[in-house]
């Protein structure tokens, strides 16, 4: 009976189980993350596999949490995680009291959570700390079924944990119905981005083949099937294990003739059910799974024994599954079959009984379920308060997407019920705000329109400001500007509202690059704020707009003074957010347009300390530290920058803040040449960006190409840049100019190393983009132009490398970066200038000086790949990098060259030439490489032949290879 349910063996999946096991546990390095997403059609056996793999991982010592996502469409944020924790807790024995208290602690944390600023990020951090406690050092595996129904909060949590921000060794195994991905499912994009990562696998679970089908059918029946029956099972099941099993069972039990479709199989079974069992199946279909036993009893009002008999019968007919936490339909397909079998009145009756039973017994997803059942029971007035409560509950857990849906349902219910008990204005206001928070801007604006209609009369100033805010968030700047104007003109506009509108308008104009207008509005806002009470927020906002617009209009001192005053105002008024905001803008102003890096770094670090005292370390503190890190990187204090990154990451930031920090750390790792660390951070950023955030894609791709070049993978570098070029807006001139430089450098490196052919089309396109950037930046503000000019100088010089590197262009680049006080690109440019001079065999002494200067900087930074390029060039050109070394080389043999082999008779230079002969280079090429003439190489080669007593290059190469050390 009940034991019949899972007896069929798992056929044809042994390889897959093994792959997934090692991907999730075996191959995962300590402290790292991994994920496997199983996709496949209904009935292909995903759930079964999740269970199977979960058991094995548990046996291997992993801590396994399992949850499922729900399809009631209006579930609650993080439901699958909460469910997994509850299930896990229920399974713990008394001996595991420490784990149990950690689980309960985490569950309690959810219960105590309150809505507030930065709530979502802080919640992620607390969840990961909680999971850390529960795991107690064991690897943690999170298994999620029916991921196609996942809520947005859970999706963000998964990406956060997989990006390694939770500092947990975590693996995720999730199943997704392939059918769901075909439409417009948000997971599609997430999976496309994630599947590129080394730590993520997306595995498609195919139906069984013919042999697998027969094996499974034979196992169910207990003997091999006759050929004709086997053929029929294969034809009708298409290899779908669920269908095979059911067909084979019909065969075994001698049910006459095979049913044509699965629907028929289940309809026959439903028809054959005893009366009470019939009721049980329909009741579970109407409920939210799992349906607990007590709840089923309440809904059906059956005596205990009859209920148990009925449930057993439904299980025996393979329509229902019973587990500790309640009953579920055996398969989604069963629900589809049952959907049309009840009269509407019967169905609403069931929902009513569910709602009544649940009202008396608060539990999991209480309000969401109540709203769901009352609504389907045809009782909008009773569903309404539950929907409102569910929306508030979702907002408490920062799930604005879910809240928005509950508010929308509530609005509809309020309309249906004609209830006067609720304030429609308030409902609309809440719905609009939730829509705005979860990015549904058009919906937010529509709701606001409706709100204005319900309120009647002329729209208020507050409404105009709100509408403008939504419009600005939707990127509809022109309309937002008009709306702020209307707010300023509204009759009911208070002085403070006026100041707010003007300050926000200034901010918007600054964003649009209209600096003069922004400055004017900002001055207006400051004047208005002076007359208004409690207007520190407006002062900070307006001052920053003014500060930046002055800086862009090249009056840096005035801008700086304004911003410093704003900080004083904020400190006097004492609102922590205002203080934090003022520090942030001041630091951005200094490190951005003003390029006063050292001072900017000091301000950012002081600000981070100050806001930590004010309790805003996690959010604003992190942002300030990110500014400090980027400043430190540029002024060349990498070791210090590294320390600050570590300190900032200890806050476990999330979202855009985390992306900024990871990119900053990656930039350092690329500079250091730490390929593993850099790749890890790039993957982590890509993981976070899979959830959205186009703004950071170009910096990510720029770093990816920089890293690939150090690895000598110039084609990979080219691909990253090409993707970037097709995905960046041409008005982001700063970001674009850095990307183009990387692209041209990749082609130049490909040319120099000869490992990859230069792509002339790519070069042409890059030059076109560089020209476009130059054109656009000509009309940009001075500070922007100045950054772009640095990169354009690099671009021009890289182009020359494709055709006889021009030392003058490199000298220009050196000057640009020296002027801006950025030692790293300046050192790189010096290296290339020296290389160009040496290639022309002119001004060798200057080249030596340049190389020594570059070497000193690169070594000071710890920039390993750059240092070794400088060393390599110096070696080839016989330029000594240190004064002491110079005397060594002057005496003859290079340092550390021991020659006690067949090559002992050769000079150091001859050995160098021989090595290149062995690489297959011609004399001309060797000459270019070593900066000496082709004729001189010929002389060297003939000496080599004499000394080694050989007559061909091949023979000489053979001796070289034989004697090569290591």
């Amino acid at each position: 009976m009940a034991s019949d349910v899972d007896t069929a063996p798992l056929v044809g999946r042994a390889g897959l189980v093994q792959t997934v096991r090692s991907a999730l546990l075996g191959d995962v390095a300590h402290g790292q993350t991994a994920a496997v997403f199983l996709t496949g059609e209904s009935g292909v056996g995903k759930t079964r596999l999740l269970g199977e793999i979960g058991d094995r991982l548990r046996d291997q010592g992993a801590l396994v949490l399992t949850g499922s996502c729900l399809d009631i469409g209006d579930a609650s944020p993080l439901h699958p995680l909460l469910q997994a924790l509850r299930r896990f807790d229920a399974d713990l024995s008394a001996a595991q009291s420490r784990t149990s208290s950690a689980v309960r602690g985490l569950l309690q944390m959810f219960a105590d959570e309150t809505a507030g600023p930065d709530g979502a990020g802080a919640l992620l951090e607390r969840v990961s700390r909680g999971l850390h406690l529960i795991a107690e050092g064991r690897p943690l595996v999170l298994i999620l079924d029916d991921l196609q129904w996942v809520d947005r909060s859970t999706r963000q949590l998964l990406l956060y944990l997989l990006a390694g921000l939770g500092d947990l060794q975590l693996s995720v195994l999730a199943a997704v119905r392939a059918e769901s991905l075909q439409g417009a499912h948000p997971l599609r994009r997430v999976l496309t981005e994630l599947r590129r990562l080394r730590t993520v696998r997306v595995l498609d679970l195919a139906p069984l083949d013919r042999a697998g089908t027969e094996e499974l059918a034979a196992a169910v029946v207990g003997r091999p099937l006759p050929a004709e029956a086997a053929e029929q099972v294969w034809q009708r099941s298409g290899g779908n294990p669920f269908v095979i099993e059911e067909l084979a069972r019909d065969l075994r039990d001698g049910r006459v003739g095979l049913s044509e479709t699965l629907r028929e199989i289940f309809l026959d079974r439903v028809d054959a059910l005893p009366q009470h069992a019939h009721a049980v199946v329909h009741a579970v279909a109407a409920g939210v799974e799992p349906v607990q036993h007590w709840l089923l009893a309440e809904v059906l009002r059956l005596p205990e024994e009859e209920l148990i008999d009925a449930a057993r019968a439904a299980v025996a007919h393979r329509l229902l599954v019973g587990a500790d936490d309640g009953y579920r339909l055996r398969h989604r397909l069963v629900a589809e079959v049952l959907a049309h079998e009840l009269l509407p009145a019967e169905r609403s009756g069931l929902h009513r009984r569910y709602a009544e039973a649940l009202t008396a017994a608060p539990g999991e997803l209480h309000q969401a379920r109540l709203a769901h059942h009352w609504r389907l029971a045809g009782e909008p007035a009773r569903a309404l308060p539950a929907a409102v409560a569910a929306a508030q509950e979702a907002e408490r857990l920062h799930g604005y997407a879910e809240a928005h849906r509950h508010w929308s349902v509530a609005l509809q219910l309020a309309g249906d019920s004609g209830s006067l008990a609720v304030d429609r204005v308030e409902l609309l206001g809440n719905a609009a705000e939730a829509a705005h928070h979860c990015g549904e801007h058009a919906r937010a604006l529509t709701l606001l329109e409706e709100l204005a209609e319900v309120q009647g009369g002329a729209p208020t100033c507050a409404l105009h400001i709100r509408r403008a805010r939504y419009l600005a968030a939707a990127g509809r700047s022109a309309l937002a500007e008009e709306e702020y104007q209307r707010a300023l003109e509204a009759a009911d506009c208070s002085p403070r509202d006026r100041a707010t509108a003007a300050a926000r308008l200034a901010e918007l104009l600054l964003y649009l690059g209209r600096y003069a207008d922004a400055g004017q509005r900002a001055r207006e806002a400051l004047a208005l704020a002076a007359d208004a009470e409690d207007s520190a927020t407006e002062v900070v906002l307006a001052s920053s707009a003014l500060g930046f617009s002055d800086a862009y209009l090249e009056d840096p001192d005035a801008g700086l003074a304004v911003m410093r005053d704003a900080l004083d105002t904020a400190e006097r008024a004492g609102q922590p957010e205002d203080v934090a905001c003022a520090y942030l803008h001041l630091a951005e102003l200094l490190t951005g347009p003003l390029n006063v890096l050292e001072e900017g770094v000091v301000v950012a670090r002081r600000g981070a300390e100050r806001v930590a005292e004010l309790g805003l370390g996690r959010t604003w503190g992190t942002r300030l530290l990110a500014i400090a890190i980027n400043g430190l990187f540029r002024v060349g204090q990498w070791a210090e920058a590294e320390k600050v990154v570590a300190a900032a990451l200890r806050h476990r930031p999330s979202g855009a803040d985390a992306v900024e920090l990871l990119l900053a750390r990656c930039r350092l790792s690329v500079g250091y040449g730490d390929i593993d660390a850099a790749s890890r951070d790039l993957d982590a950023v890509a993981t976070l960006l899979a959830g959205g955030g186009a703004r950071h894609v170009i910096p990510l791709l720029t770093l990816r190409s920089g890293l690939a070049m150090w690895e000598g993978r110039h084609d990979v570098a080219r691909q990253a840049v090409q993707r970037g070029l097709t995905e960046s807006r041409s008005d982001d001139v700063t970001i674009l100019s850095a990307l183009v430089w990387h692209g041209l450098r990749a082609e130049a490196e490909a040319h120099a190393s000869r490992t990859v052919a230069v792509d002339p089309t790519a070069v042409r396109r890059l030059r076109d983009v560089a020209e476009r950037v130059a054109r656009k930046s000509a009309s940009a503000a001075g500070p922007v132009r100045s950054v772009v000019d640095g990169f354009l100088a690099l671009c021009a010089a890289e182009v020359s490398r494709l055709d006889g590197s021009d030392p003058e262009l490199w000298a220009a680049s050196v000057a640009e970066w020296d002027r801006r006080n950025h030692p790293y690109p300046a050192a790189y440019s010096r290296l290339r200038q020296a290389e160009a001079l040496l290639a022309r065999r002119s001004r060798v002494a200057t080249a030596g000086k340049l190389l020594r200067a570059a070497y000193e900087v690169a070594q000071g930074l710890g920039a390993v790949p750059l240092t070794s390029e400088i060393r390599e060039l110096a070696g080839r050109a016989r330029v000594s990098l240190e004064e002491r070394e110079q005397t060594d080389t002057a005496r003859g043999a290079g340092p550390g060259e021991v020659a006690d082999d067949e090559l002992a008779t050769l000079t150091a230079r001859e050995r160098e030439v021989l090595a290149l002969v062995a690489e297959g280079l011609t004399n001309r090429e060797i000459g270019q490489r070593l900066f000496i003439s082709e004729r001189t190489i010929g002389v060297h080669v003939s000496h080599i032949f004499d000394k080694l007593q050989v007559r061909t290059r091949v023979q000489a190469s053979a001796i070289h290879l034989r004697n090569r050390r290591g």
């Binding site: 075909q182 439409g183 417009a184 948000p186 599609r188 590129r196 959205g692 993707r723 097709t726 076109d768």
Partner: protein
């Protein structure tokens, strides 16, 4: 034993489809490789109806790529994502067809079925592919893209402008292939861009090019409701499949 779906190039196509291109240059590369394989597919080889479509699609996507490099679009982030997402659906359909999955959209399977013959004329074949791709795939690709970029399909937005710009690329490229069959092509394009109901209602002139956009807006509004979304999907698939069959019927040959 049944013959593999893609005949002698089965392995190559399966391997190619195992890769999921993530940017527009990669999509162009993918389509180029696919073209080389499809024309080797017996029995029709050079006149494989899918190759007819693929060739047109490759031409169009290459133009989109050039447009991206040449700064032709206002919001390249949007357009690149859309292009990748759009192409992914064509590759998905091929993957499902490879697995003989019942989930293969009918809009596509009516074209795939014809790979074994009888021969169809190149123009209607390409048109049947364009039909499946625009009338069925495009609205969903739009919705996914907007969802990912946390934006939304708003008329008159930058994204809408870029979207319409793609229509110009289609218009640019298709005449080159049609060799003087202007009126018929115009009629066809209008048919393709309208779903059949709209076409019958004769409302097409004003908004034909925008049908996929409007369908995307429709799906956008119900995207959180799995049932409604699925219902919309079935509707679009049925419509596109009906039109596709029409194009591949002898009637479609009038276009050539």
């Amino acid at each position: 034993m049944t013959e593999p779906v893609w005949g002698p190039v089965h392995r190559d196509i399966v391997d190619l489809l195992a890769d999921h291109p993530a940017d527009v240059p990669a999509v162009v590369d993918h389509l180029t490789k696919l073209q080389d394989l499809l024309v080797r597919l017996p029995p029709l080889e050079e006149s494989c109806p899918l190759a007819d479509f693929n060739k047109l699609y490759l031409t169009i996507t290459s133009s989109v790529l050039d447009g991206l490099y040449d700064d032709r679009f206002v919001d390249p982030v949007f357009l690149s994502r859309l292009d990748v997402e759009f192409a992914a659906r064509y590759f998905d359909a091929m993957r499902m067809w490879t697995d003989s999955s019942p989930g293969t959209p009918k809009a596509w399977s009516c074209l795939f079925e014809r790979m074994r013959g009888p021969d169809a004329r190149p123009l209607p074949s390409a048109a049947a592919g364009v039909n499946a791709h625009i009338n069925f795939d495009l609205p969903f690709a739009l919705v996914t893209t907007f969802d990912h970029l946390e934006s939304e399909p708003v008329d008159g937005s930058d994204q809408h402008h870029d979207y319409l710009e793609i229509n110009n690329i289609f218009a640019d490229k298709i005449p080159g292939l049609r060799r003087g069959y202007l009126e018929r092509w115009q009629l066809l394009i209008d048919m393709l861009n309208g779903d059949i109901d709209d076409w019958y209602q004769g409302e097409l002139v004003e908004y034909t090019r925008d049908v996929a956009w409007r369908n995307a807006q429709k799906i956008w509004r119900c995207r959180h409701d799995p049932d409604a979304r699925e219902c919309e999907r079935t509707r679009l698939d049925d419509n596109a499949a009906a039109l596709g069959r029409l194009l591949l019927s002898p009637l479609g040959a009038f276009l050539q």
